[in-house]
Amino acid sequence: MTAALRHAGMIAIAVVVLFPLLFAVSTSLKSAAELGRYPPSLWPQAPVLDNYGDALTKAPLGRFLLNSAIQSGTVTAGQLLTSSLAAFAFVFIDFPGRRVLFFAFLATLMVPLEVTLIPNYLTVRALGWLDTYPALVAPFLATAFGTFLLRQFFLTIPRELADAARMDGCSRRRFLWTIVLPLARPALATLGIYAFLSTWNQYLWPLLVINSTAMRTVQIGLSLLQSQEAVSWGLVMAGVVLMVLPTAVVFLLGYRHVVRGLTAGAVKG
């Protein structure tokens, strides 16, 4: 088989796999007249951006995207901070009870969202947080996965470095901020990308704790728009494209990190 033929085959398969998404992009660019046509055309004759304008103005998709950005940004920053601190303690401080506490961290990985859903909803309601950003952010501020990922990386930093820094009168805090974290940038990137993708794509929890239109994340806002109102599929597909765009960019730029994050539990070594 020639190389060109092989490429043609692999591209064709990529198109089949991505067909639902590509067709969504194509539909989002169709005019109202062309959307009404059946059978649907594969590609718009004259691409227009009307659906995007409508999505951002008629449906408050801009507001939904902003809410999602605030939630995902805060959760990502929070997870990077809490995991860095915890992983640092587990690796560089020799304290009694270290094994027990680390085990307690790992145990949280076994607890699925569904088991904590009802009590967490009741907690958030009791705190008066329903329909606020804290409800979207607080439950996700700590992560055992992130702590574990950073711990594995911190373990590769020679202990002699910590001892030498100590000798030179460098405090633990300064050692963390000026030496450990800069060295750990690849691991931090992996965690950051993973945290952003999973928070941006959340569905069930935001659905429960958000009631008002203005506070909806984009996942909730767009799905409710589709189910409750008679909106055109062109507008919904424009919304889908806008909703997938940030995670698509992060995925394409950080492909290596995504792979590392996803296979951390799957492949040994």
């Binding site: 796999v17 649907p40 303690a89 904590t116 009590p119 996942q219 919904v236 492949v267």
Partner: protein
């Protein structure tokens, strides 16, 4: 405890407190609270009423709706997990070939990782649409009579499963590709020299070598689809006639539509038990493989 040990403990706690506080408030306390709720009658605001003992669990065991949701979840896993592997493995094999620009193909084949379940469900809702949906059009071209994808109780679960397989494909490709990259070249070479064809190499060298990853995708995939909610809520709301009422959707309905928190908490405990069982299975089988090799 020596003074030094105490000092180190206090120092460590200062670093651990942010995570610990979040875990106590949002994981450990709710876990205990959920177990407690499952043993009580609850009022519509989630307050504890009379102690019910195993009452909620007994009610579940006798509830046709709950038993149906277990059956639906089991079927849903059966429709999605094997299909995800059967489609994901060839894609991973393609993505593992030494071709120029392979990274582009790898990102394309695993791209659905970036797609949220809501986005996937909305796209498929439109593909399934009885008026403008492209699926009915394609079936018309093939002279296959149209079916009510999301409105026919026989087709709704397979339809939701199709959307789910598509969404999870990216994850399967990434994990299986990572495993394929770990298959030693000399092993493949040796088999070739012994006269094995492409199929023989695949069947007798590659598959055994990646069997832990295949198993991982199977178990993690099953755990994942047992937690499915978004695609159900967007595509079918559990219907038609309960045919897509998976466990998590049924928990959601009991807790946040019918406000029967105690009963929903008991359902969540049952789901938790199922997932623990799968996790234990994964670890024990994994252990066996690792020591065997």
């Amino acid at each position: 405890m020596t003074p030094r040990a105490r000092r180190e403990l206090l120092s460590a706690l200062a670093y651990l407190v942010p995570s610990l506080a979040a875990f106590v408030l949002f994981v450990f306390y709710p876990l205990v609270r959920n177990a407690q709720l499952s043993l009580y009658e609850t009022d519509p605001f989630g307050g504890l009423g009379l102690y019910a003992g195993a009452g909620n669990y007994a009610r579940l065991a006798a509830s046709p709706v709950f038993l149906n949701s277990l059956r639906v979840s089991f079927l849903f896993a059966l429709y999605t997990v094997p299909a995800g592997i059967v489609i994901g493995l060839p894609l991973a094999l393609l993505a593992n070939r030494p071709v120029r620009g392979i990274t582009i193909y790898r990102t394309a084949y695993s791209f659905t990782i970036a797609v949220s379940i809501a986005a996937a469900a909305l796209i498929w809702a439109w593909l399934f649409d009885p008026n403008v949906g492209v699926l009915d059009y394609v079936m018309g071209l093939l002279h296959v009579p149209a079916v009510g994808w999301l409105t026919d109780p026989r087709w709704a679960l397979p339809a939701v499963a199709a959307a789910t397989v598509w969404k999870d494909l990216g994850f399967n490709v990434v994990v299986l590709l990572a495993a394929l990259q770990g298959v030693p070249d000399d092993l493949v070479e040796a088999a070739r020299i012994d006269g094995a064809g492409a199929w023989g190499v695949f069947r007798h060298v590659v598959v055994p070598a990646i069997s832990p990853a295949l198993f991982f995708v199977g178990v993690v995939g099953t755990i994942g689809v047992l937690q499915s909610f978004g695609q159900i809520n967007i595509l079918t709301q559990g219907g038609p006639v309960e045919s897509t009422n998976v466990i998590v959707y049924s928990i959601f309905r009991n807790a946040f539509v019918n406000f029967r928190f105690g009963l929903a908490a008991a359902q969540a405990m049952v789901l938790f038990g199922l997932m623990l069982l799968l996790t234990v299975l994964q670890f024990t089988v994994f252990e066996r493989w690792v020591t065997y090799q």
